[in-house]
Amino acid sequence: MENTKISVQDLNLHYGTNHALKHVNMEIRENAITAFIGPSGCGKSTFLKCLNRMNDLVENVKIEGKVLIDGEDIYSPKADTTLLRKKVGMVFQQANPFPMSIYDNIAYGPRIHGIKDKATLDQIVEESLRGAAIFDEVKDRLKKSALGLSGGQQQRLCIARALAVQPDVLLMDEPTSALDPISTLKIEELMVELKKKYTVVVVTHNMQQAARVSDDTAFFLVGEVIEFNHTDDIFARPQDKRTEDYITGRFG
């Protein structure tokens, strides 16, 4: 595929004796939204976490194969997870703002990576909040606790927090599954806006969401990628019977 950002080559993942991801190959395009769909437990979230090595934190995980981002293997012994996670940011299913002020939440990442200058931080905070379309809602309460925001606002704050370290790639693990329809809509609009600057990868349970926002879609089933194609093709002309069954709601 043209302008590949992430190239996954024969990735296998074992949780103890459980073979959770089987021979996954995938080319993820730059400045596009790639959606992973599939029933619960199919491995789509696990696969997403492989892309910034968040599975390293889990006990008894064995990962084989290659994940190349801009041509560099992130599982190489030379790779530094701090730099990797700066480049590949993550937004979680449950909004997880830290128990500190809105400002400090956004400044958390830049501070990790050594930015201390107040003026620079101020600028990053504002740009990140604007980037996540939440600046106007919170600009008068930057010093107040982030825990006082609504669920939808918290999730956009978390997106802003991820943007603050200026990543290339944004991984989103079911970012709207805990949100109401209006907040969901806002996040979806935001995703479309974000792909202009970032490569977005999103796991979703919501097939309409995948159809609405994504450019490419991968369908996972018990640890395998059954089908990976342009979203229009997947939804209009699924090649595999199982994909068709899933997107037409016959199971899952």
Partner: protein, 291 residues
């Protein structure tokens, strides 16, 4: 005429009422016993407490009766003990919760800590006097006492810190690590601030135990009641000194009940203050309550 199905067949439940009565009675006894002790100690003790009592030491030559030396000794013991035990306790809690792989070793350590906290304090005193006092040649001194009490309150601080760390949601951990924070950075910037109320509670409960301890100190810190000499504040650490509870014990064994109740009253006030302080500080440092 009411049918059998009607809900208007209210019965009086005799047994229920009786049990209610028992419960209220138990509660009343518990509270009134506590109040009685407080009142009794206050009435007997408050008369002995004066400015002189609090700010001078007992001296036959000057004709004063005072506990200033014991108050200072108590402060010494509190500070030294906490300086030793808090970093170790918090550190081991972080290790057990965040670094050690859950399994047999962690369970053994936790079981040991729990057992340690149930051991009678006089056994700590015996061990402390032999190990710190004799083997390490520290003799009867405030340092020996503080080292002994450190062992005693370590489980308290470790347990409270562990409990506090457990209540920090995992999403904070993955959130911070997912942004490229190193584990230690995450612990320092997210976990410890979130766990601070629990840690403070542990530390203050520990202060309570230190203030109330006598058996373990009798063998280790001895029983001096004099103030440190001018310029001798540091060397005092290696000299013996009795805390308030030790002096209370000595005074009552000499039948000086006025002094004993005076000290008891002072201790009660201190414990009360510590309890209020715990509540205030735990609230103050609760990051989730920030506006």
């Amino acid at each position: 005429m009411q049918s059998e199905n009607s809900i208007y067949n209210k019965k009086t439940h005799g047994m229920d009422k009786f049990l209610y009565g028992c419960i209220y009675l138990s509660a009343a006894i518990a509270v009134s016993v506590l109040l009685m002790i407080i009142c009794y100690v206050t009435v007997r003790g408050i008369g002995s407490v004066s400015l002189e009592f609090l700010t001078t030491v007992t001296s036959a030559r000057k004709g004063t009766v005072g506990i200033a030396g014991n108050i200072v000794n108590t402060l010494y013991i509190i500070v030294i003990t906490l300086v030793i035990a808090t970093p170790i306790g918090v550190g081991s809690a972080i290790y057990l919760n965040e670094y050690a792989k859950p399994g047999k070793i962690v369970r053994i350590i936790e079981f040991t800590t729990e057992t340690l906290s149930g051991i009678p304090s006089i056994i700590f005193g015996l061990f402390g006097s032999v190990f710190f006092g004799t083997t390490l040649h520290l003799g009867y001194s405030l340092l020996t006492g503080a080292l002994t009490l450190s062992l005693m309150i370590l489980p308290l601080i470790t347990r409270n810190t562990q409990e506090a760390l457990r209540t920090v949601p995992d999403s904070y951990r993955s959130g911070a690590l997912g942004m490229g924070a190193t584990k230690w950075h995450m612990i320092r910037t997210i976990l410890l601030p979130s766990a601070m109320p629990g840690i403070i509670t542990g530390v203050i409960l520990a202060i309570g135990r230190i203030v109330g301890e006598s058996a373990a100190l009798l063998f280790t810190a001895g029983s001096g009641y004099l103030l440190p000499k001018a310029g001798g504040w540091l060397s005092k650490i290696l000299q013996p000194g009795g805390t308030l509870t030790i002096q209370l014990y000595l005074s009552s064994s000499k039948a000086e009940y006025n002094v004993a109740f005076g000290i008891a009253f002072v201790l009660l006030v201190i414990v009360l203050c510590i309890n209020f302080l715990t509540k205030y500080l735990a609230k103050r440092f609760d990051v989730t309550r920030m506006k």
